[in-house]
Symmetry: D2
Subunit: 276 residues, 4 copies
């Protein structure tokens, strides 16, 4: 099981969420609390936007996040209003940077926790459905990257929710053809640098966890004495596979088969269903 | 341009050919003499057979061969009657172990110097021709590995020469469809652990170099005082992209559009032509 | 906490003990049973003798052992009558090959589980005591390597037990000068390629575990139906920080403050005390 | 031979000097023009200040700079008013991050091209002279890092020129005691985040090259049509081991046995002599 984190809001240093707190993402990589896999030591990645309209930058490594000095340096040196971070526990494919999340295409980032079951059985059929124009951008061999390029094929850049619904529908349909009962298990985050879409779904209706932080304005009312929140804009949000701390009222579990959108103005939480 | 070496004969320590001599393969990686590319610092690989009928073992790394301590240790610790070694200068694809030669499938090894021109244009069509049963064994994104899996699709394991002829024919045909004038440039070595097949070919009829060492019995007659040859069986052969030393009479260039087979009993050199 | 394994006996493939069994060393690296640290993902090393009188070869990597493909290849390709393996959980110093066990000097190997407490406080005084002739061979910054070079300074190569007793005495004395109450905690294995010496000691008298396998002749009597033991010589022994399996009667804990010697002919177990 | 670059002036993206130009530092790493060593493939490092008074951040890797994707990402993502970059060709010590320049201590950075001759002979005596308070900060085994900690011992942080003069004097004196005729060869750059000091010296009076870019105000007068200079402040300077381009009038060689200081206000060029 992988773990991930997505941040949107007032520009902060990456280390604030990756390193500094109890239950920070790096801390989680060593000590799983809710995860099925013991350890997330199979590489990690960080993708961040500068807020200047440029495509995101990505730093990925095959070393465990907890002992990568360069990650510490970068996390202290880089400030960003929107970033993704992911720590990997491989479910089989090679440990190499190109298999490490977040994946990037143009201004989009994508990361995933979960798996496509019996991926070897359906891999080729899934790849065959990817657009010719996208094919050469595939660099690795993971199920997660395949899902990304399928979603791009299905229009991620114009209608993200519809594209992910179609991608999941196609994966399920392909799996069922091969008698795979529960073809997909996922929490996914994707972004174009302005909004973040996060999805929680699994064929078996028992998906891995997905949490949204409470809106900052509400959180500040709840904890007026917590001055580390003062500098954060009301719209600041964190989306995670597992809560980063134990503050009561700070984290809200996304319901089964739902997705959320975080973007300036209004956020949204709505049911998610694959389109068949 | 990459460089490679294939050895067959009396079991020797890998370091004899990889490290110890002037113009050893590692020495070549730092100082090109005949190559187009300055430096082979984009990873390396070694594949070797134990001589016990087991599939070959492969050690591959993304570090430059000249500064990899583990390579030094292994080359001193491993003795083999048949091994391949390859040093890479990337022509574009990612620097990762899965893009590093030699590639392995079952008991077969494959390594390549050269390129498929405009690979991005033909990549998908080439991949589409690969057998379903082989598809999931592809781990990287290089033209070289694609050529290997095409050759396997065309029967490498039963008739290697015919399979490589068909592979090259298919690559040329696919390239020509897209107005690529000279689709392929290659020297290739492949082995099943008993024989080695080495190919020299390019669409433009101006292929990179390929050299076979002179038979040991002849070489011993030529240099009776060279006692380092004493322990080597008469059938010992080295095949290389560039000669390892300057001994007159020791190296024989393969002619343009030819292939050679090295195996116990008789060796063979014959013309090579793609089958269309 | 680190973990390690030392083997002496009939030549076997490294993978037999590193990879193949339940509770193999690699399996332990992911799931600690008796250890204080959750995960041994900070690199690993293997040192082995060919049995030809040559110095040992060492393969060390900063990647987690469980996801290093090259380790799998080597462990399947290398057979040895005497080898060491070590998986690291850093207690602070940098994750780099030169900080990875086993350490080698000439024909000697050394590996350690434990620590010198407040190492920063005593580091320089300890280093100052190392022989001039040895100083330039130090490549890393760990307490473990410092202990090795102190032991070499105190005559490890002529009288290993006396040298380790003097090393531990010197470390304790130096620590006490700086009001460090319990300066050292250790299990150590060292070898010259013929015998293995293993030590269990800590200043607090509560040392990490050390286990010796039961002599093969006794084990065969105990388990006549366990045919995987048939090929192993009577003198075959494994020494480990944690048992590799649950076979009753197969593993014997070394008592507190003891050392054992494994060598052809007679083995030995005796009390250990630092010399002051 | 290593190569390095130091920049001070208007904040720019690192990629401007590391990657984008002909004869950029990365380009130089593959194709030496003035260097003695063919290839700088033994790792690289970048150190940069954010301009907010914080200590510098350092990104170092053992991969060749030319194929490190993360370096590309960072160089495009990080903007800095003062940064160092270094590409390494090892003269013997291990290829590991802790042997990679620039070295950092507090707010100081240090990088070096050259060597201490017969370093193994004088290593220990040099290390013995380093302050106790600094000893535990030494992480690697290079002559370059030893020079840094000696300079720190001699007061680098209060009077950099005097400290480097004393360091060089001490290295020469120690070398001469051991009949090493020409103990040191160096170009060095060091900075506290505000000023940069660059030194050119060798015992043999034939030092490796050191170049200062012409002041921007003069360069703008010389090339009024070169609009890429428009955004750079008049005080912007680049100091390099080898010129980054062929613009006549842009680069000025430092004379033998001289040092230069670049800092807001006045720059300075003055003779350098070791203090004995």
């Amino acid at each position: 099981m992988c773990r991930w984190l997505a941040y949107s809001g007032s520009p902060i240093k990456l280390e604030e969420l990756l390193l500094k707190r109890d239950h920070s993402l790096i801390d989680q990589s060593l000590h799983s609390r809710m995860g099925a896999t013991t350890t997330n030591g199979d590489g990690f990645g960080v993708g961040w936007y500068d807020g200047d309209g440029e495509p995101p930058r990505v730093y990925r490594s095959t070393h465990p996040a907890w002992n990568d000095r360069n990650l510490n340096e970068l996390a202290a040196g880089i400030k960003s209003p929107l970033f993704f971070a992911h720590i990997r526990a491989s479910t089989g494919s090679a440990i190499q940077e190109t298999n490490t999340h977040p994946f990037r295409y143009g201004k989009w980032l994508w990361m995933h926790n979960g798996l496509i079951r019996d991926f070897n059985t359906v891999h080729r059929e899934l790849v065959n459905r990817i657009d010719d124009a996208l094919f050469n951008s595939i660099e690795g061999t993971t199920d997660s990257e395949t899902m990304f390029y399928l979603a791009l094929t299905f229009g991620l850049q114009s209608d993200p929710v519809a594209a992910v619904e179609e991608m999941v529908g196609f994966v399920e349909e392909t799996g069922h053809k091969h008698d795979i009962e529960q073809p997909i298990q996922m929490t996914i985050a994707t972004t174009d640098g302005e909004s973040i879409w996060a999805f929680r779904y699994s064929s078996e209706g028992d998906s891995r966890s997905l949490w949204f932080s409470t809106r900052m304005d509400e959180l500040k009312l709840l904890y007026p004495a917590l001055h580390q929140l003062d500098d954060l804009s009301d719209e600041t949000r964190v989306i995670v596979s597992e809560p980063l701390g134990d503050l009561p009222g700070a984290w809200n579990a996304a319901p089964e088969s739902h997705y959320g959108v975080v973007h300036p103005g209004t956020d949204k939480l709505a049911p998610f269903a694959p389109s068949h």
